[in-house]
């Protein structure tokens, strides 16, 4: 029985990182209408910056903040410099983001190298609770994610900013006529999503080593999670992340190990085909599709 609970506990922390990346994408994709395939690289860079700062002697939690800021700025530059020009042709933006992701991956390889990077566990404790080994850092990851989810959810649904954002998606022209600076909100959402990615990267490297290619492995998860939950729907991203995290953990624990990836792939395909609007419903995504 402890093994089963251990698997559930494991799944939760896997799900957390996926949720962080999924929230970023669902907001950016669903609310700002930008398809950013390089979002995974933003996460990877968050992790690399954290590694760099920690190995230079900085405390992990300070480095985490540093990573969030860095990636936030990176997002700002990307949006202002690139994505704002393709807002009306999201497919072009998507293709551009493939280019950005390739550039970022290989720039990191140039700057550091392609060997995996790791930092010592910042917390380092393992709590043994009733036969289940709970790695303390994973609990930190889950808690931080929960806090972020709460902030984001209430921010979008309750605050005036959130309402204005949802209005501008529903009808951009009218929103603009009503004085909502849509462009600025788009930039804001993009930066927020990027900051979340930076946080995700920092948390991830605290758990296991990352390589410059880590982002590209995660990005599909992130997109799938946001599409499964429903674009723009924060609760949906959480639900999607939990489902995929659970499928992953349980399939590794009880399925055929070499087919581990297949279970979540099949789930992704099934939900995308059978319920394209997402489990909890969301926007239909960028208009030009």
């Amino acid at each position: 029985m402890e093994i089963f609970i251990q698997q559930l506990v494991n799944s939760l922390s896997v799900a957390s990182v996926t949720i962080l990346i999924g929230i970023g994408i669902t907001l950016i994709f669903g609310l700002a209408g930008i398809v950013n395939f390089a979002h995974g690289e933003f996460l990877m860079i968050g992790g690399m910056i954290t590694w760099f700062l920690v190995t230079s002697g900085m405390n992990f939690f300070l480095a985490l903040v540093g990573a969030m800021i860095f990636v936030g700025v990176l997002g700002f530059v990307a949006e202002r410099g690139l994505f704002q020009f393709t807002l009306n042709r999201p497919m072009n933006g998507f293709i551009m983001s493939i280019g950005v992701s390739v550039i970022l991956q290989h720039a990191v390889i140039r700057l550091f190298n392609e060997v995996q990077k790791t930092i010592p566990d910042p917390v380092g404790k393992v709590w043994v609770v009733g036969g289940v080994n709970v790695i303390a850092m994973r609990a930190v990851v889950v808690s931080l994610t929960a806090v972020v989810v709460a902030i984001t959810y209430f921010g979008i649904s309750r605050s005036r900013y959130g309402m204005a954002l949802r209005a501008s998606i529903a009808d951009q022209e009218t929103a603009e006529l009503m004085g909502i600076p849509v462009r600025r909100y788009v930039t804001g959402v993009f930066v927020y999503g990027s900051v979340l990615a930076g946080l995700g990267g920092a948390l991830m490297i605290a758990l296991f080593p990352i390589t410059p290619f880590t982002g590209s492995v995660l990005i599909i998860r992130g997109f799938a999670v946001s599409l499964i939950g429903g674009l723009g729907n924060v609760a949906g991203a959480v639900a999607g992340g939990l489902i995929l995290g659970l499928v992953d953990g349980l399939s590794a624990g009880y399925g055929f190990p070499e087919w581990t990836d297949a279970y979540s792939l099949v789930v992704m395909i099934a939900i995308l085909i059978l319920r394209p609007q997402g489990l909890l419903g969301g926007t239909l995504g960028p208009r030009a599709t």
Binding site: G99, V102, I269, P276
Partner: protein
């Protein structure tokens, strides 16, 4: 109804390309460049599939390498298990890839472009996984070995030059097919669907049939590329046909220009030869592709080939003055 006869520009361009392709081995490129030319040619055949699918019908896929893989593995399995050689396996590879492309294309009728992109990525990853876990049937992760192409009309394909011409012939067939499709009513219909699908449907076009058709053509091209690749590399493995190779294919076709006739060829040549000629490190060249892609999207939405076309037109118009 066919469009009016090809313009003078088109004939000139076709002649230039034809002469270049045919005369390449005689320009003393050396075996290294000849070998690279063969693999570039094979890649561009696959890219023409994406050209039809995305350039004409507007359906992007990041799973295209899987269809190349179906063609390659079909050829390898037919050769290894049934002793079927290249010439008989060629239609099988092409057909099987087309069929699978059609099947995987069915979801595109139901969901939007971005959803479909994720779906193609997932299918490609599943394909890679199935090959890796396929035991002795697919050779598992180690892959399969393939023999040589059986000689025909006395031509031995172990000679590099003959292999090159085989690929060139296939490439020319693809170019011709693409040209005919682009300039036919079928092509116009595809473009209409690409621009505004609800309107096309309202006018009575069977969009589903046309889209699946375009995807099947794309698959057929990929399958042909696959069997050629299997017989050239003589050894295939799952890693060649996963989602990340597919991403690079998408990148290549966008770089070259998906909508123009020579775009896919240009994309393949740029990605294969530029790092060679400039002696660029693979890391630096990938950064260069990424930057090139950004430049293309922001400044040259039609790809490098459309940029070249603009330069050509500007030169021509300058001359007349």
């Amino acid at each position: 109804m066919m469009s009016p006869r090809p313009s003078r520009q088109e004939i000139v361009a076709a002649v230039v390309v034809l002469v270049f392709l045919v005369s390449f081995p005689w320009l003393n490129p050396g075996y290294r460049y000849l070998s690279l030319a063969i693999t570039t040619g094979i890649t561009s055949i696959a890219l023409y599939g994406l050209g039809i699918q995305f350039g004409q019908a507007g359906i992007m896929s990041v799973g295209h390498a899987a269809f190349i893989g179906i063609g390659a593995y079909t050829a390898a399995i037919l050769a290894g298990r049934l002793g079927v050689g290249f010439w008989l396996a060629l239609p099988c590879s092409t057909l099987l890839s087309a069929v699978f492309a059609g099947l995987i294309g069915l979801p595109s009728l139901r969901v939007g472009g971005q959803h479909y992109i994720i779906i193609t990525f997932c299918f490609c990853a599943l394909f890679d996984l199935a090959l890796t876990n396929g035991g002795t049937f697919t050779g598992a992760a180690t892959g399969l070995d393939v023999g040589s192409i059986d000689p025909i009309f006395g031509l031995n394909f172990d000679q590099l030059r003959n292999s090159y011409y085989l690929v060139v012939v296939m490439l020319l067939i693809c170019l011709l097919a693409t040209y005919l499709m682009m300039n036919s009513s079928y092509g116009r219909t595809l473009r209409a669907i690409r621009e505004n699908e609800p309107l096309a449907r309202a006018v009575g076009i069977n969009t589903a049939l046309h889209k699946i058709g375009a995807l099947m053509v794309s698959g057929a091209f990929a399958g042909t590329a696959g069997i050629l690749q299997a017989y050239y590399l003589r050894h295939i493995s799952p890693g060649l046909y996963g989602p990340f190779p597919s991403l690079y294919l998408a990148l290549m076709v966008m770089l070259g220009g998906a909508r123009l006739l020579y775009g896919p060829l240009a994309g393949a040549i740029i990605v294969s030869f530029l790092p060679e000629i400039l002696k660029l490190d693979p890391i630096d060249s990938r950064i260069a592709y990424g930057i090139g892609l950004l430049v293309v999207i922001l400044l040259l939405p039609g790809g490098v080939s459309s940029g070249l076309l603009e330069i050509y037109r500007w030169l021509m118009s300058g001359r007349r003055r």
